[in-house]
């Protein structure tokens, strides 16, 4: 087995025992990237030299007895929407082609302070807006379960890299589901923390009040470890990894089944996957109760108006100066926002407050967590997208960007050989509880241990050490 398949905690144990070096681990990941990424296109930049320097520095610190925590010496990837000092960061756009930030984003600084090895920058939909696009400097990332399928987005490279085994964890962003939906399509774990849990300085804004920094990881435990490193202190989310092994017996989980089960876009098999997941959580001792929530369409409408208004404001200068350099889909999405008035946006913000209070009243004053669908179908084929106009894929993610509740995407089964997943939502700053539920589910099932087939022209066996 390649060393790159070791979980973060397994690798960490070996690094601390002296039976593995970070340089060896980093080289194993780099070998896989060289072999498999031509098919997955997860990386827009591989930082081989600096990664090996950082790995060597981690090894020197281990030898000196310096322990910076669970990500020390571990290769990680960062979405290309997040600034990294001295490394080209183009936000997935020709508009910023060749842009080299002078400083690190706050989250990148936390990773460096924790001794992580930054292996490279990962693909994103242009400015995290919409995709897949075929008129950008780099073609879109592919889904490791079937490279003719999309990853979802906008943290497309994060999901492709983790699902393809190139990384165990990565940092993405989520404004309407950009961590969770690609995690769902690619069969990995996506964690959108509470609004305000992880600093956003140095992240190119899509929507200043809906943007979140999150993780895409191979397992819930690795998502929790990553969160513990990047989170600002406070709440139980700062110690998510230490609470994973508490059982979930007696936890009260609301099940928002009517939010997705009758949607015309839902796959019937997805409803069965969700019902089976609810049953599994019940078998683990959780108390599941169906609840009725405010109309999903109202959440989506409020978020959509806010997102488009804030995105247009964030892009006013580059649109004025470089509009011809935007890809078609991003340009169309941004410009559709010019129809909004200040009164429209004020109305959307007012509804946002109402819905946030309603979710708190109906769910989180009575329940420990909420279970609902993530994407309503498996990953569509690239052939469903012509790149000339946006195609919307149904999901249930954006309400929690609106309300700021933490939400965890966890693999829950397969439909026709493609991953299907669920979403567990928690109280504000309740990341530890949703990670505990997701971890218990993961331990009781084998969905997260399933691996995609090797792409044509590459194989894991070739990459073995």
């Amino acid at each position: 087995m390649t060393l790159a398949r070791l979980s973060i905690s397994e690798a960490g144990s070996r690094l601390r025992a002296g039976s593995l070096t970070s340089v060896e681990l980093t080289r194993a990941h780099l070998t896989l990237v060289r072999q498999l990424d031509p098919a997955y296109r997860a990386f827009v930049a591989v930082m081989e030299n600096t990664a090996l320097d950082e790995a060597a520095a981690a090894d020197r610190e281990f030898a000196a007895g310096v322990d910076r925590g669970p990500l020390q010496g571990i290769p990680v990837g960062i979405k290309d929407l997040i600034d990294t000092a001295g490394v080209t960061t183009s936000y997935g756009s020709r508009v910023f082609e060749g842009h080299v930030p002078a400083g690190d984003a706050a989250v990148a600084r936390r990773l460096r302070d924790a001794g992580a090895v930054i292996l490279g920058k990962l693909a994103t939909y242009e400015f995290a807006l919409v995709g897949p696009s075929f008129d950008l400097p780099a073609p879109p990332a592919t889904n490791p379960w079937n490279v003719a399928r999309i990853t979802g987005g906008s943290s497309s490279g994060c999901a492709a890299a983790v699902a393809g085994g190139l990384l165990r964890t990565s940092i993405g962003t989520d404004t309407g589901g950009s961590v969770r939906s690609p995690a769902g399509y690619c069969g990995v774990v996506g964690l959108k923390p509470s609004l305000g849990r992880v600093g956003k300085d140095g992240v190119f804004p899509l929507s200043r009040t809906l943007d979140h920094v999150g993780t895409v990881s191979a397992s819930v435990a690795e998502a929790a470890l990553t969160l513990d490193v990047i989170a600002d202190p406070g709440g139980d989310g700062a110690r998510a990894a230490s609470q994973l092994d508490r059982d979930i017996a007696g936890l009260r989980i609301a099940y928002a089944r009517d939010w997705f089960a009758s949607d015309p876009g839902v796959m019937p098999q997805m409803v069965r996957v969700m019902d089976a997941a609810a049953s599994q959580l019940s078998l683990l001792g959780a108390r599941i109760e169906e609840v009725s929530l405010p109309d999903y369409a109202v959440f989506e409408a409020s978020a959509s108006v806010i997102l488009h208004a804030e995105a247009l404001a964030a892009h006013s200068a580059p649109l004025r100066e470089r509009s011809a350099d935007y890809g078609r889909l991003a340009f169309q999405s941004l410009m559709s926002g010019v129809c909004l008035s200040e009164a429209d946006v004020e109305l959307a913000r007012s509804v946002r407050s109402t819905l946030t209070e309603a979710l708190q009243d109906r769910v989180f004053n009575r329940f420990d967590a909420l279970l609902t669908a993530n994407t309503l179908a498996t990953a569509p084929a690239f052939s469903s997208f012509d790149g000339k106009r946006a195609v919307w894929t149904p999901m249930r993610t954006i309400p929690f960007n609106l309300t700021g509740h933490p939400a965890l995407a966890v693999p829950a089964g397969f439909i026709g050989g493609l991953p299907a997943g669920m979403q567990i939502v928690g109280r504000p700053f309740g990341e530890a509880t949703i990670c505990r539920i997701g971890h218990a589910f993961e331990q009781a099932t084998d969905h997260s241990t399933e691996r995609p087939p090797a792409p044509m022209g590459g194989s894991y066996a070739q990459a073995s050490f």
């Binding site: 409020s302 488009h308 006013s316 169309q332 410009m335 010019v338 106009r389």
Partner: protein, 61 residues
């Protein structure tokens, strides 16, 4: 003034874009209008939601 079926005014949309210093190329106008129409529908839904919220709820007699 051209109006599409959802009542979005294409000329006004182009004027607003021009006020931002942005020209919407002819081959992108229909997709932009479609997006604007979705946002207009969203605003209509939000207004209906607020109106329903303001109405006093009926109570059983």
């Amino acid at each position: 003034m051209k109006k599409d079926e959802a009542g979005i005014d294409e000329s006004a949309l182009l004027d607003r874009a021009a006020a931002l210093g942005v020209n919407i190329p002819p081959d992108q106008r229909i997709p932009v209008l479609e997006g604007a129409r979705r946002l207009s529908d969203a605003c209509r839904l939000l207004r209906a939601f607020k109106d329903a919220e303001k109405k006093p709820s009926s109570s059983p007699t």
